[in-house]
Symmetry: C2
Subunit: 244 residues, 2 copies
């Protein structure tokens, strides 16, 4: 989407989280220290509510995000409230894209022509938090989402802030299951029959911290890496993912 | 896709099954009696292998289908082996579309321009068996698939043989789950924030039998119906679905 010259040093600063919420905790609660650090220089964070989990309105969803950010004394403003959202993103001090339906999110981002300005701002150092669908769009494409295709986006290409695809809410196969639908691992293997990009299966409670060019797995859990024509394998928390 | 005049009496004859395989049984085993009856006048059944579960080749997948159909003395020929698949469908005595990835299946059907001839043949009485992805495409759109978007189809519109959408492998929420990803019910409710078509959640072991204009739920289980702006509800096996 952008032509970056070889000399360009990206100033990326992101948290790409599997989920907004871990079992038994409040919205964003497990990540509040990290978010506070990420947005330490941001007076205001723009919230992208387009993914609308469960069909919640943009206003209501922004209230949910605002409530969590209030705990770290940050003000949140919904991107949908700006008359010129492109300009708002270009001037933003911080952005948080919440989870929900990735097809709806990506369709709206294309409709408002926001993917390029968002990517440009992230490469210039905009602090960015993504959870679930908001993390999925940090990958090369949205093609490893778990969501239903309830809207038809103009393309599956996304921000490409990291050089791989993300599978949020990664779920291990249940050995006791009698369900015959595909496991997550089977689905990602099917992805690799059509696409060669690596995929990171991020379990709930894990996140990727991106600082400049370094991408580090964070949280208590391992993550599962799926590379084309290779057996999937686990990486430990703290691993720097610099080998794709 | 077709303009059907009011006088036209569709001669539909289909089995639209949630899954090819139920837990603990062989491929198609639980459906063999039904399939035998469906294809009783067909000397040869064309198999549509495009959905390629797990990335299996078209030839290998056709062998799997052939092996099951051999038990009811039916010959199976892969659609991919015909130089003119459109013509093959128009002249077919029976068609079986197997499961796998719905995005791959629908992309291939569009690439080969097969949706219209398949729909025309079905409305003229072509006996059709679908399982999983092959059932999903019988609905108005593929937008209630569970599959990953590993290919980008030209459209999400599908055969529209029944006046609703299908969610195969329908899965009830697990009350003991600590996973925070969306339940199937939540996903279908999200579908209804963008679309008004009814959705039938077909559990594994259930199928719809379509005979002319009658659509009947079959198998031992109830099915879950999701209508726009209504609470979801269950229907019993044997129910004729004539109220959409």
């Amino acid at each position: 989407m952008l032509n970056l010259s070889d000399e360009f040093q990206p100033m990326k600063n992101l948290i790409i989280a599997s989920t907004s919420t871990v079992y038994g905790k409040g919205y964003l609660e497990y990540l509040l220290d990290e978010i506070s650090e990420l947005f330490k220089d941001s007076t205001e964070v723009i919230f992208v509510p387009y993914a609308r989990p469960g069909g919640i309105s943009h206003d209501e969803y922004t209230k949910v995000a605002s409530k969590a950010f209030k705990k770290i004394d940050k003000k949140v403003v919904g991107l949908h409230t700006f008359s010129n959202p492109k300009e708002a993103l270009a001037n933003a001090g911080g952005v948080f894209t919440g989870g929900g339906n990735t097809f709806v999110l990506v369709t709206k981002l294309y409709q408002h022509d926001l993917l390029v300005p968002m990517r440009e701002a992230i490469f210039k150092g905009l602090p960015y938090l993504g959870t679930s669908a908001g993390s999925n769009i940090c990958g090369l494409t949205m093609q490893t989402t778990n969501d239903m295709p309830i809207m038809y986006p103009p393309s599956f290409k996304t921000l490409g802030v990291v050089p791989f695809n993300i599978n949020p809410h990664y779920l291990d196969p249940d050995p006791d299951s009698t369900h015959m639908g595909e496991t997550r691992e089977t689905r990602i293997k099917e992805f690799h029959t059509q696409n060669a990009s690596p995929v990171i299966g991020l379990r709930e409670g894990s996140w990727l911290q991106v600082k400049q060019s370094d991408i580090t797995l964070k949280g208590a859990l391992t993550a599962r890496i799926f590379e084309h024509n290779k057996e999937p394998y686990e990486i430990e928390s703290g691993t720097i993912i610099d080998y794709f």
